[in-house]
């Protein structure tokens, strides 16, 4: 092999290695910076407010219209956004209200029926046909979903709509005139970071043990809390 062909071979190998390195760098960079779109809490004079909704099935035009899901909404349950990553302020009290339109599934672990990590150790429960009460637990079999941020020790059970309730919502978006429960609680946020949240109820219809599909997919029953 003469020197010319050796040089060409070396240049080829070097170029190939450089291209592979650039592609690897791009892949890793995109992976590290690819955070799903987020919705911010509403800022009020009394602090940040976050309104969410848990529905039995996503909107009909969603890629998975049969999947149970969380949505970001407003105080009047309008302006629905299908995002499960929420921007919250650091070191602040955030009041969260969750409208639950889904029915009762039941908790696999009854321990999670008690609220933890919320300010005061309680949550307020109301909704269609319900007298508003301040509670620490619900009956485990009546749980529809859970809003839990395990890294913060936050876990709040969400009462499901009775199976006999009239005017139930089938797919997002839903309205406050439809059967729902309203759970409100306050949490104190930590310092900046990206934290995860999840549901603990095996609520994924049609999946083995109720924990596949939407329970394993960020954007449905899982998501992130971004603290700036």
């Amino acid at each position: 092999m003469d020197q010319g062909s050796s040089a060409k071979k070396l240049i080829g190998i070097g170029l190939g290695a450089a291209i592979v390195c650039v592609l690897l760098g791009l892949y890793i960079g995109l992976y590290l910076t690819n955070v799903p779109g987020a919705a911010s809490a509403t800022t009020t004079p009394t602090g940040a407010r976050l309104y969410l909704a848990a529905v039995p099935a996503a909107a009909l035009d969603d890629p998975h219209p049969t999947w149970v899901s969380y949505y970001k909404t407003s105080a009047t349950a309008t302006n629905w956004q299908h995002v499960t990553t929420y921007d919250l302020p650091a070191h602040s009290l955030v009041r969260i209200t969750i409208y639950t339109y889904d029915s009762q599934t039941g908790l696999r672990n009854p321990f999670i029926s008690q609220v933890t990590g919320a300010v005061g150790g309680t949550f307020t429960l109301g909704g269609t046909g319900l007298k508003t009460k301040v509670l620490k637990t619900i009956y485990p079999i009546t749980a529809s979903h859970v809003f839990a941020i395990p890294q913060w020790g936050v876990s709040v059970p969400l009462l499901g709509v009775s199976g006999n309730a009239k005017n139930q919502c089938a797919n997002a978006p839903c309205s406050l005139s439809q059967a729902h429960t309203t759970t409100t609680f306050t949490i104190r946020t930590p310092g900046p970071g990206l934290y995860r949240w999840q549901c603990f109820v095996p609520c994924a219809a049609g999946f083995i043990q109720g924990f596949g599909g939407p329970m394993q997919t960020v954007g449905y029953m899982d998501g992130y809390i971004k603290i700036a």
């Binding site: 029915s103 599934t105 020790g153």
Partner: protein, 278 residues
């Protein structure tokens, strides 16, 4: 120079390197090996890891010494004069020693591992009927580890069956972990405690640990269990007995509302509901 001289030199260099490096590995590197000396079981694992490293050091040195010796002794400054040597067809003495040494190492490690496991279980899960219980196991503190996607909780049958989201243990106490799962297969890995036990639905997997002094330890799931497996971790503490006694009282008060709603304590729980009801 004859072939016999080369072998003799290689063996001498290897003996010298092993005589120097093995004590360094045992006495300098060994005490710092994981998982540390937080419990009786983890200390035993440090000793086990030191023994494994001490046995493997001469083996690794044999390769390195032979490699370096070959590079130095057989280096040919004029590559164009290199010709292939005659083929070697078997060497009974080398084959015999190879078999003797490798068989001896494997049998020693198998025997050592068996003896160590039978001594106290080495902090590993032993299934529902453990055969290697440590001294003090008959009056061990009972802690049920309940794994679920994606969190560990802990239940205390000797304290009203209360369930807690965090794990604290008293110092100088033998603890029996009863590890189970409510859904898929997880693995309870309390790293600094030297405990690792699979968490299987419908099975009570027992592991023992004997704590020593105060300690902060990490709990992780060591079995890929779904989207948040990487986040299934927590921090636990070993605290003085008086502090632990106050902690468990506080937990019983704090989680009294949930305790009323728990199923009666059992070695395992059939995961109900098994599918979505709504």
């Amino acid at each position: 120079m004859s072939e016999v001289n080369h072998w003799r030199r290689v063996v001498l260099w290897w003996l010298l390197a092993s005589a120097v490096m093995t004590p360094i590995v045992v006495f300098v590197l060994g005490p710092g090996l994981p998982p540390g000396n937080g419990t009786v079981e983890s200390s035993g694992q440090v000793v086990d890891n030191t023994v494994l490293l001490a046995v493997s050091t001469p083996v690794a040195l044999a390769v390195i010494v032979y490699f370096v010796y070959a590079i130095v002794a057989f280096r040919e400054p004029k590559p164009e004069t290199v010709v292939d040597g005659p083929p070697i067809r078997g060497h009974a003495q080398i084959q015999m020693w190879w078999l003797i040494v490798t068989t001896g190492i494997v049998l020693f490690l198998a025997g050592y591992g068996t003896v160590r496991l039978l001594a106290d279980g080495s902090g590993g899960g032993q299934g529902p009927n453990p055969i290697a219980a440590p001294a003090g196991a008959s009056h061990a503190l009972q802690v049920q580890v309940i794994a679920q996607q994606w969190k560990f909780t802990y239940r205390w049958p000797g304290y009203g069956g209360v369930e807690t989201p965090t794990l604290e243990l008293p110092t100088n106490e033998t603890v029996q972990f009863n590890v189970t799962s409510l859904d898929v297969i997880h693995s309870f890995w309390a790293y600094q405690l030297g405990v690792k036990a699979d968490a299987n639905p419908g099975i009570n997997n027992i592991a023992y640990v004997t704590t020593k002094g105060p300690l902060t330890f990490n709990v992780r799931c060591a079995e890929l269990c779904g989207v948040w497996h990487g986040y299934m971790f927590d921090t636990g503490r070993v605290v003085p007995k008086s502090e632990w006694a106050r902690w468990i009282v506080r937990q019983r008060i704090l989680y009294a509302p949930a305790t009323k709603l728990l199923a009666p304590y059992a070695k395992q729980y059939f995961p109900m509901p098994t599918r979505r009801g709504g």
